[in-house]
């Protein structure tokens, strides 16, 4: 994350000190950090800040969500597409605890975010005061940094640190818990951006010998394979990555969060890794001779059983976070540092290579996956509508240029499998935490983060109802998002597991749903429900042509399955193709 890419501050650091209230200082500090959009919800302990915000409407746009979880997810969506730090503003106690899920999600997915929560008056701290919660204690394990501000004098300093920490190195969420008296009291204000903390080195120094070793191992490879993670996107290293891959002739697979770092149609792009990823990248992970992981963390959904994972390969791991190296997979060469710096250093020492025979092996597996799964999912001629075909039609209709936001479940896997990308930062999904309810508010945030891009939010009937109140935010601000509800009237992914692993005992997964179109209509969101395949194309066109938010509900097959599937904890070489087929 390059903080300098953020909007230049309107208020420059002041040499002349002014005496201001803590709340006023907070707003000015946010402006100095280039913040122009804040997602929040007011309440008792944060009211002085909202009062100060009232005077700065031109500088900071505040989006009033309908629940604090929505504020945090929106801030995440905003950050993920915009390269900026997302900001959420909530009150103490329940306001802060409602934000916990989003904060954890941001921690898991390395999303730069600053959450500002009000706190009771400092003299009441620890007394079980009204709406008091131990926010520091609760959020410490799920944040990159937390700080409780109890004096107005510390606000500017704390904000400056918070933004530095959230955005630099491996990004993450920071919580500032600001006592009400600190918001009200006055002090002198001057602002200085933080660029250095002695206890925190965001980007470890590259190690020359490791760079050389990595290049040597790659040069010796006959069957190299790369795993591309979100670190590439967070480090703005997409071009450096493509240069690296092309010089080495290295095919690659993406983690779910690494999707869109390289356009879908790049000849070296073999698709998605992991449990519901494509067949060839999973199989070839266990057949390559050199495995190159870049900005990814070997999540269990990617690796399956570690005992059978890439045992044949020399593993090179590029990562900015030293704690990720050797955490799950033992590596041969560890390249610490920022991929934007380290990749070109390695590329420079690499020999130009092509591995046509090795690449052809991927095609064989792709063909198998296409025949057994993709073709049937994308181009069915009869039967109920399939999730994959909807995603496919939407991505084609947007010329593959839209931002795809998803919730969590079957539709998420279908979206990540079949949505196509031409630009980076086009996939917003809850990867690590798998948070149902993420999609709708994250999509709202994404639209604010990239107002010129089409935002398509894929949701299921389960996840939508977890944060459906954000229809209110969409209505209030006229947020132009396209919501595609893939409705199977089931908690589909859990149902899939029940079918496969729990003897088809569908315990609490079937849902009686409301009339979603009527609900949307109540919020002034135009909508249409599609049940027939032949209506689909026109409905998608109508949705995209509509100037404003739109809910397209597509009733999809009740018992659809996401394949391929690597059962949890199994080897990634054992892939279920469905309908009794396996490899």
């Amino acid at each position: 994350m390059e903080r300098d890419k953020q909007t230049q501050p309107v208020i420059t650091p002041t040499a002349n000190k002014e005496t201001l209230s803590g709340s006023e200082i907070l707003i000015r500090a946010l402006v100095a950090e280039g913040v122009d959009t804040v997602f929040g919800y007011p309440g008792g302990a944060i009211m002085p800040v909202f009062d100060a915000l009232y005077d700065h409407k031109e500088r900071i746009k505040h989006i009033l969500v309908r629940h604090e979880q929505g504020a945090v997810h929106a801030a995440q969506g905003y950050a993920r597409v915009s390269e900026k730090v997302g900001v959420a503003l909530v009150t103490s106690g329940p306001g802060a605890t409602n934000a916990i899920t989003g904060i954890t999600d941001a921690m898991m997915d390395s999303t730069p975010m600053v959450v500002i929560s009000g706190q009771v008056v400092s003299s009441l701290l620890g007394t079980d005061a009204f709406q008091e919660a131990d926010v520091i204690g609760v959020t410490q394990p799920i944040t990159k940094w937390v700080y409780q501000v109890r004096r107005a004098e510390d606000i500017a300093w704390a904000v400056s640190r918070a933004f530095h920490i959230a955005a630099s190195g491996r990004p993450g969420p920071v919580v500032l818990d600001i006592a009400k008296d600190a918001q009200v009291n006055s002090c002198d204000f001057s602002y200085e951006r933080t660029t250095f903390l002695r206890s925190y080195q965001p980007i470890p120094d590259p190690e020359e010998d490791k760079i050389q070793m990595a290049a040597e191992v790659i040069n010796s490879a006959k069957k190299p394979f790369a795993l591309v993670g979100q670190g590439v996107i967070l480090g703005n290293a997409e071009e450096e990555l493509i240069a690296f891959l092309e010089k080495g002739g290295i095919p690659f697979g993406s983690t779910i969060l690494g999707l869109s770092a390289v356009p879908t149609d790049h000849p070296l792009n073999m698709g998605m890794l992991g449990m519901h990823g494509n067949v060839s990248p999973n199989i070839k992970t266990n057949e390559c001779d050199v495995l190159i992981a870049i900005g990814m963390r070997f999540d269990d959904r990617v690796t399956g059983d570690l005992k059978t994972y890439a045992k044949q390969a020399k593993v090179i791991h590029f990562d900015i976070d030293p704690a990720e190296l050797d955490k799950n997979v033992k590596t041969t060469v560890k390249v610490v540092g920022d991929a934007k710096q380290t990749l070109p250093l390695v590329t420079k020492q690499m020999e130009q290579r092509a591995h046509p025979e090795w690449l052809a092996e991927f095609d064989t597996y792709y063909q198998k996956e296409y025949d057994h799964i993709i073709k049937k999912e994308l181009y069915p001629e009869s039967g109920e509508i399939k999730m994959g075909e909807v995603v496919h039609k939407v991505t084609e209709a947007t010329n593959n240029e839209a931002i795809c936001v998803t919730d969590v479940g079957q539709h998420q896997m279908m979206s990540t499998r079949y949505f196509k990308y031409t630009k980076s930062r086009s996939m917003v999904t809850s990867g690590g935490l798998g948070t149902m309810g993420f999609g709708l508010p994250a999509g709202i945030g994404a639209k604010y983060g990239a107002p010129d891009r089409e935002v398509c939010i894929f949701v299921g009937d389960g996840g939508l109802q977890m944060t459906m109140h954000e229809f209110g935010t969409i209505m209030d601000y006229g947020v132009n998002v396209k919501i595609i509800l893939l409705n199977n009237n089931f908690l589909g992914m859990v149902r899939q597991w029940q079918e496969l692993f729990f003897d088809e005992r569908y315990s609490e997964t079937q849902m009686k749903n409301p009339d979603f179109i009527k609900v949307a209509d109540a919020y002034g969101i135009k909508g249409k429900k599609v049940t027939k395949r032949e209506e689909l194309d026109d409905a998608i066109k109508e949705m995209l042509d509509h100037d404003g938010s739109y809910l397209l509900e597509v009733v999809v097959e009740t018992k659809g399955m996401v394949y391929p599937m690597v059962p949890a904890g199994g080897s990634i070489s054992n892939i279920m193709l469905g309908n009794g087929y396996s490899l």
């Binding site: 204690g137 410490q140 394990p141 206890s199 030293p322 704690a323 050797d326 955490k327």
Partner: protein, 190 residues
């Protein structure tokens, strides 16, 4: 319970901010490690606190990962681990004995000579011994006192330790960070 396990000593230097201990213990909890002993105090450098924590594990990899996770926290300056061979370490123990029982027992010279005990207090009610040493030594005295005179109260401190090696890791690290800071400030001015 700790058969085949090695006792590791983890040394942590942190900024003196609120809640650092919580951040550290959370990492132990998540990795399912029990803290055997813990000692915290201001270090030789002003504003920097030193934590000395001991824990048992049978896998050095666990220690490597633990230390990296601790080191990663923003407020932590430096974290590393050692085994006993690398360290000079010490614990303190206090033993409160009934003066009456001590008198009945007769001589305390034996304990002073054998265990190098210091006597901190003698009053009508109690005698307080102090013993510094390794765990086995303070434990040995405790057991012998228990079986002879009886111990009214006993307390043992967490371990404190210093490394035997020549390298002074924290000051090296701080010096390097200062260098990086000046470099950073210089590039910002350009």
């Amino acid at each position: 319970m700790n058969d085949n396990k090695t006792l590791y000593t983890i040394t942590i230097f942190s900024e003196n901010t609120v809640g650092v201990l919580n951040q550290i213990t959370t990492i132990f909890t998540r990795r399912q490690l029990n803290i055997e002993t813990l000692s915290v105090s201001p270090s030789a450098i002003e504003g920097i606190h030193k934590f000395t924590i001991t824990t048992f594990t049978n896998d050095e990899e666990v220690m490597k990962k633990l230390v990296r996770l601790i080191d990663k926290r923003v407020d932590i300056l430096k974290a590393y681990y050692n085994t006993d061979e690398d360290l000079v370490h010490q614990e303190l123990a206090l033993y409160k004995l009934s003066t009456e029982k001590v008198m009945e027992h007769g001589s305390i010279e034996y304990f002073v000579r054998k265990y190098n005990v210091r006597i901190l207090e003698v009053s009508v009610d109690c005698v307080v011994f102090l013993k510094a040493g390794h765990f086995d030594e303070t434990q040995g005295l405790f057991e012998e006192l228990s079986s002879t005179i009886g111990v009214l109260q006993f307390v043992r401190s967490g371990r404190i330790a210093i490394t035997k090696s020549k390298v002074e890791r924290l000051s090296d690290m701080l010096a390097k960070r200062e260098e990086q800071k000046s470099l950073l400030l210089a590039t910002q001015q350009i």
